[in-house]
């Protein structure tokens, strides 16, 4: 079952209106740990501690502040902040369409399923149109008093809405200050051959969270009072730059 309906609205562009409902598409499944006091395993609580008095401060004594400079704050009332939020709308406004391949996954934040609301009319047509044009709609909408930037895309036959990170939230590659390192066409060719040898179709169901299973097994073992053998992490020896071609060729022999 896809998740519950989070929000309802209309996809809108030109004179087109497609009514949809938003559903969560992902549910994370993780082993939960608690933080305990080492000595007696009492479960610890998180508390807000006053940096000055070093005492826990109850919620009614909290104030919200924006730090202007060190130790200087602008006080802000949460109600005012709420006011600053945009009015909730019902419109997913598509501003433009882009080739899907142009959206680097680095921008993708969270995806929701869209379900047709009231009528199928339009939904199937839009799904088909997006598929045939290979595009995604760049759109904005407002829910829960927050504005979102998103990409309207097709996944199979289902319309999906991914929230996108704003451009200034993505760290530019140039700030990584990567060094240039020349590679020869020969190396590129052999690496390219190697990669096609190692290529497969994307089958995510092949991959399970084995670690989670092993972790659960470890916990069970410990719970039974059995001894745990601690293994050292494996470190790989980096390939020396002058050995790169040689190693590529050896790899090629291995896979061919």
């Amino acid at each position: 079952m896809s998740g519950r309906t989070l929000w309802k609205g209309y996809i809108q562009f030109g004179n087109i209106n497609v009514p949809v409902k938003l559903h969560t598409a992902v549910k994370e499944d993780r082993i939960q740990f608690h933080l305990l006091h080492k000595r007696d395993h009492v479960k610890l609580h998180q508390q807000m501690i006053c940096a000055y008095e070093k005492v826990p401060v109850p919620a009614e004594e909290w104030a919200k502040g924006f730090e202007l400079e060190d130790r200087k704050y602008i006080l802000i009332d949460p109600a005012e902040l709420e006011q600053a939020g945009p009015e909730d709308g019902r419109m997913i406004e598509v501003h433009e369409f882009v080739k899907t391949a142009q959206i680097d996954p680095i921008f993708l934040e969270r995806m929701y399923y869209l379900e047709p609301d009231t009528t199928l009319k339009g939904y199937n047509a839009l799904a088909g149109a997006l598929k045939e044009t290979g595009t995604a709609g760049i759109c904005t909408w407002t829910m829960r008093r927050r504005s979102y930037l998103g990409a309207l895309q097709i996944n199979g036959k289902v319309l999906c809405l991914s929230t996108l990170r704003y451009a200034d939230e993505v760290i530019a590659v140039k700030s990584l200050e990567l060094q240039k390192a020349p590679v020869s066409e020969k190396e590129l060719k052999i690496a390219s051959d190697l990669i096609s040898q190692l290529s497969a179709s994307f089958q995510p169901q092949k991959f399970e969270n084995e670690h989670q299973k092993k972790l659960q097994a470890l916990i069970d073992k410990k719970a039974r009072g059995e001894k745990i053998t601690v293994l050292r992490p494996r470190h790989l020896k980096p390939t020396a730059p002058d050995k790169l071609l040689e190693v590529l060729e050896a790899s090629m022999k291995k896979v061919a």
Binding site: K43, G65, P105, E169, E177, P204, E208
Partner: protein, 268 residues
Amino acid sequence: MALQEIWNGTVSFSLVAIPVKLVRAVETGRVSFRMLHRKDYSPLARRMYCPKEEKLVPPDEIVRGYEITPDKYIVITEKELESVSPERSRTIEILEFIDIKDVAPVYYDHPYYLVPSKGGEKAYRLLVEVMRRTNKAGLAKFVLREREYLVAVKSTDGALSLITLHYSGEILPDEDLLSKVGTTRSREEKIESEEKSRMKKIIKEMTADFNPDKYADERRKKIMKLLEKKAKDKGTVEAPEIEEEVEEGVVDLVAVLEESMRKVKEHR
């Protein structure tokens, strides 16, 4: 700008091993606020607190526990966590390469960049370039902190990015949606087809290059404006200065001893 290293290890495919560091690729643009103590405007910090002893617990006295029955925990150490998948905690081993276009957006979770460590520049550059040309991404599994991630390593603007993927089990099925969509009664088929053509026409007119710079967070702008106004009208408040504490190795003796004892027992 030197980005803080989150992890370091090796990216490998076949026999090639590239030493790399993992760094952030995104930072939230949300306006962040500090919680203050209304009394003196000193900032509040989240700290772990022992409800039994009614005191703050320093980080070195905190352990991770898994609750097996209510209030009964199994303590798991960092070393044990690391040893669950020892072959994956320091190595991102690319198992296979896939076409990026085959990965549905729903799988993407959180992005990072990989940057080469000393000596790895050339092999890194090679992998970036080959994946750019072939539009492929490497699939790998690796363990960061206590979680194992399925990740896609790909070429992004001349760098390697690493994007964690959701496991297929974490993706909610869309079968009930599929049963609703895609099917059209024959008498509506024609209308739908016409509608589709109309949409395609509009889409073509509205198609442009992806340029995320065009969009800004409207809410962020409004909040910043509000803050400017508040600063002008009401001014700022000032928190008291905090004296640097000289905590010269103040530790709890019994805790130190018990911890030491635990380690002794582990090794015996």
